[in-house]
């Protein structure tokens, strides 16, 4: 059973916008796509891409503002010729609240 932590309201992130959640072990970017879905992925792909919350979103993808890599928000995979994958985290929406899996925060601590 996954535990979830309330990180804010759905209206805190405009449609096609993104914001970050700070954790002790790096930032997580939370995206609100045009289709109304929410995704949580790592803000940086170390040495290769990021900060992804600053990118332009299109569909369920985001384009990295620095090198134009395109990432699939659901899988974290880089698209096209680029190779790499950012971590993705489980999240859900309940009663207008955004819930992020506590593993996204605590799991990273445990990984240290």
């Amino acid at each position: 059973m996954t535990d979830f932590i309330d990180i804010g309201s759905v209206t805190d992130i405009p449609v096609q916008g993104a914001r970050i959640v700070r954790t002790a072990h790096g930032d997580i970017a939370v995206f609100h796509t045009a289709s109304g879905h929410f995704y949580a992925v790592d803000e940086y792909l170390e040495g290769k891409a990021g900060p992804l919350s600053n990118g332009i979103q299109h569909g369920e993808k985001v384009t990295d503002p620095m090198r134009n890599w395109v990432f699939d928000l659901a899988t974290g995979e880089a698209q096209g010729a680029d190779e790499g994958c950012v971590g993705t985290y489980e999240m859900k929406v309940e009663g207008g609240r955004l819930l992020l899996s506590s593993a996204a925060i605590a799991g990273r601590v445990a990984a240290e």
């Binding site: 405009p14 700070r22 600053n54």
Partner: protein, 814 residues
């Protein structure tokens, strides 16, 4: 031997189960039917047509009193069940009656979810669930205002039904577009447009704060931004919760709903449950199709016949007259998924299919849903569609046919639409020329003059040739804006104006975009074209801008930002320098550098600190230098006749005047100017987008210089005698470039395309046109000369861009 069956709840699922049971074996059970509502079974999903006046209540009754009587069903309507004693197998009614049962069936349905915000218990706050709610809504008329919270299926049906009665209805929806669970953004946009046309006000991404009342009755809904929406009735249609109270009280296994197995049996083998109150394999149900499946299975289980309930794909249609939409399956984008999108702007049709492994897994349709069942069949049966892929989107009638015409957008233009702006030539005039024998582009240019000036409309003229001549005309290859469209930059710009398109979804719909939401290449370009075409109208979409323009600072390689305040003409003061030094200290700015554009760059600023730095700089009278913008950057100057012994004119003063006139403007790419006081050219005017060199007799204006990836010397546009003329020519040239150049083309690239001679005609020779261009520029500046830093530092604009959503670093540290 006849057994006793008691059913709790006369809804659509239990009604169907009862029908099936009686049809299969009328004598198997002696049935008693309890219902809390004082009536029997009616078709609840048809309440919307009742509300809008298209049907009457009588027409939607599924089982009449006679039906129950004929089939020997004992009805206890208007009575609740107080409890069930499972050990003794008796149902205890509200009045204390005890009724024994052999089998018991729960059909307790669901309760509408009422947001527990302040004021939810006021009179006049209702859900949309039963006939009473419907009747209350039907009592509203032209003199009433109603707010509906919830832009889902039910909320929109309620809104449309009341709007049809002349009620002033506002829909408040928390998400970014309507029916986000069933529709993608493009279809949501079309739906919104149709509802607005019906006179309904739609507010998306609106968070309700509280309901305000007066004498215990609802008066208005207040949003969290403080807006008050007055209303006489407030309808909450934000979802349903399975009604599990009784089941829970008597100890049945309950999760989100009453747990049932594939035979619709609860944790008690003598108790079944069907409908919206059940939870099967983790899912709950709100649409009618799976409910009917459950009813069928429950009837068989009651007769000891084998049957299994299987969850299947469901589809949705909105029951609002004039809004044909359909959605089924899964239409989220994914890496291994492909989209096929079809748009017919003239008819307002949008269709999107989502394919995975050569199978259709989702479909969204708007405007023409005639083929929806065919597509739904492909989804349900997981048909392999590889063979019909090319024509799939057109529906069953087109299988084996040829794909649609890519010239649709131009074909749909009216004859009076202007194609060639330079010469004022309409589509009709071009067609007349073609019909008069001009069957090549050159012939059209020669006979109608269309496309013979700046040439930016050549793409459209060619398409008119294609549309008019059909197969006789071979379309040349052209460069498209990006892979999302078949149109070139020039085509898109002209069509935005000809068709008065004013939002990105609108452009994508009307110009037949091939991807559902565009990409990082076309979105910023479209946004600029809209910003340029419609000054003063709220067309700017920050989410389609590159990060630097979104947060008004330049992102650096480590994710920090740089801050460059404007210094008009490169002139500053001790007070400004002190303020810059103070913020550099206060915010521990690691690098302070003088730029090539004669101002000061603070590098290495944290994103969260930006608004605070801007606030401090604003206190000292400084504003954004827009060093991040595809827009007006700097006007570099030399000291000129004030100090320099060679200076012929006041170059610094002119530079300040020009920059004061032009700051804040957006353009296809950055735009840099310089004013030098004499031909020694200390301000380097000869390599700028627009450079002025002062001479004794006046001002030489040079354009199209470059000193970046390309090195080009600016060429003389015109020489003028006065400062006023120099300012007007500068504005007119900038506006001509703003209106004509392709996004991300600097002026030199644009001039190479249209020719310097044509630019001279427009700005130097035709004085009337020069004045008109300058006037359009001034008009546009009224709206864009706003300091974006002040708006963010003082008015909290876009505050979400600068602060984290949540911070767990401290929590983790403890």
């Amino acid at each position: 031997m006849t057994q006793k069956l008691i059913i709790i709840g006369a809804g659509m699922a239990t009604g169907r189960a009862l029908e099936q049971l009686i049809e299969a074996d009328p004598n198997a059970y002696d049935v008693t039917l309890f219902n809390a509502e004082p009536r029997g079974n009616y078709n609840r999903i048809m309440l919307s047509p009742v509300l809008s006046g298209e049907k009457t209540y009588e027409e939607i009754v599924t089982h009449s009193a006679e039906w129950y009587e004929e089939n020997g069903v004992t009805c206890r309507f208007g009575e609740r069940v107080a409890s069930v004693d499972r050990a003794r197998k008796v149902v205890i009614a509200e009045n204390g009656d005890e009724l024994p049962y052999d089998k018991l069936m729960f059909g307790t349905g669901s309760n509408p979810f009422i947001i527990p915000m302040p004021g939810h218990d006021l009179e006049g706050v209702i859900a949309y669930r039963d006939l009473e709610d419907t009747e209350l809504m039907m009592s509203m008329n032209e003199t009433n205002k109603v707010v509906v919270i919830g832009g889902g299926l039910l909320g929109l049906e309620a809104a449309a039904g009341m709007a049809a009665r002349g009620v002033d209805v506002t829909v408040v929806h928390i998400m970014g577009h309507l029916m986000e669970r069933q529709l993608d953004e493009a279809a949501g946009y079309l739906l919104r447009k149709a509802l607005v046309d019906k006179g309904i006000t739609v507010r998306c991404q609106a968070n309700s704060k509280q309901i305000l009342g007066e004498n215990g009755k609802v008066r208005a809904l207040q949003l969290d931004d403080g807006t008050e929406l007055p209303c006489d009735l407030l309808v909450m249609a934000v979802g349903i919760r399975p009604n599990v109270k009784l089941a829970q009280d008597i100890g049945l296994a309950v999760g989100k709903g009453i747990h049932v197995d594939d035979q619709m049996l609860t944790s008690d083998a003598d108790i079944l449950a069907v409908g919206e109150c059940v939870e099967h394999d983790g899912a709950i149900f709100g649409l009618v199709a799976p409910l009917y499946d459950q009813a069928k299975v429950a009837a068989k289980t009651l007769l000891d016949k084998p049957a299994t309930f299987v969850q299947r794909e469901i589809s949705t249609k909105l029951k609002v007259t004039g809004c044909d939409l359909f959605s089924a399956g899964d239409f989220a984008e994914g890496e291994d998924r492909e989209d096929i999108v079809f748009r017919d702007p003239a008819r307002g049709v949008y269709r999107r299919l989502v394919l995975q492994s050569n199978k259709v897994i989702g479909a969204v349709m708007y405007g023409d849903t005639a083929d929806s069942n065919w597509f739904f069949g492909l989804i349900k049966e997981a048909t392999d569609v590889s063979d019909m892929r090319d024509t799939l989107i057109f529906g069953p009638a087109y299988q084996g046919g040829t794909p649609m015409d890519p010239l649709a957008a131009v074909a749909a233009l009216p004859d009076d639409a202007e194609i060639c702006g330079c010469n004022g030539i309409s589509k009709g005039q071009i067609i007349a020329a073609i019909n008069g024998g001009a069957d090549t582009l050159d012939a059209v240019k020669a006979t109608s003059k269309a496309g013979s000036s700046c040439g930016s409309c050549v793409g459209l003229v060619t398409q008119v040739l294609g549309v008019t001549l059909g197969d006789e005309f071979k379309m040349p290859e052209k460069e498209t804006i990006c892979k999302c469209s078949d149109l070139s930059h020039d085509d898109v710009r002209k069509l935005i104006i000809a068709k008065e398109l004013k939002s990105i979804p609108h452009v994508m719909q009307d110009l037949d975009w091939k991807s559902p939401g565009g990409c990082h290449v076309c979105r910023p370009a479209l946004n600029y074209y809209l910003v340029c075409a419609w000054p003063g109208e709220e067309v700017d979409d920050g989410k389609s801008r590159f990060i630097n323009e979104r947060v008004h600072a330049n992102i650096q390689k480590d994710g920090t930002y740089s801050v460059v305040p404007r210094m008009l003409g490169g002139i500053t003061t001790p007070k400004e320098l002190r303020a810059i030094a103070d913020v550099a200290d206060k915010f521990k700015v690691p690098t302070v550098k003088v730029t090539g554009g004669q101002r000061i760059d603070l590098l290495g600023v944290k994103k969260e600190d930006l608004p605070a730095i801007w606030y401090d700089l604003g206190e000292a009278g400084m504003m954004s230098g827009q060093a991040y913008a595809k827009g007006l950057r700097t006007v570099k100057t030399c000291v000129g006749s004030d100090h320099c012994r060679f200076g012929t004119q006041d170059s610094t003063g002119l530079g300040i005047k020009i920059e004061s006139e032009m700051w804040g403007a957006w353009s296809p790419h950055k735009f840099k100017l310089a004013v030098s006081g004499c031909p020694r050219n200390c301000a380097e005017s000869t390599c700028k987008d627009l450079g002025i060199i002062c001479v004794d007799s006046g001002y030489q204006i040079l354009v199209g210089g470059a000193a970046g990836l390309d090195l080009l010397e600016a060429e003389l546009l015109v020489t003028v005698a006065t400062e006023e003329e120099a300012i007007e020519v500068s504005s007119a040239f900038y506006q001509l470039y703003r209106e004509g150049a392709q996004y991300l083309h600097r002026p030199y690239k644009w001039i190479a395309k249209v020719g310097l001679d044509w630019v001279k005609e427009q700005v130097a020779d035709d004085l009337e046109n020069r004045a008109a261009l300058a006037e359009r520029f001034r008009y546009s500046q009224k709206f864009y000369q706003v300091d974006p830093w002040a708006e963010r530092a003082r008015k909290g604009v876009d505050s979400h861009e600068f602060t984290p959503l949540a911070d767990f670093t401290k929590v983790a540290a403890e």
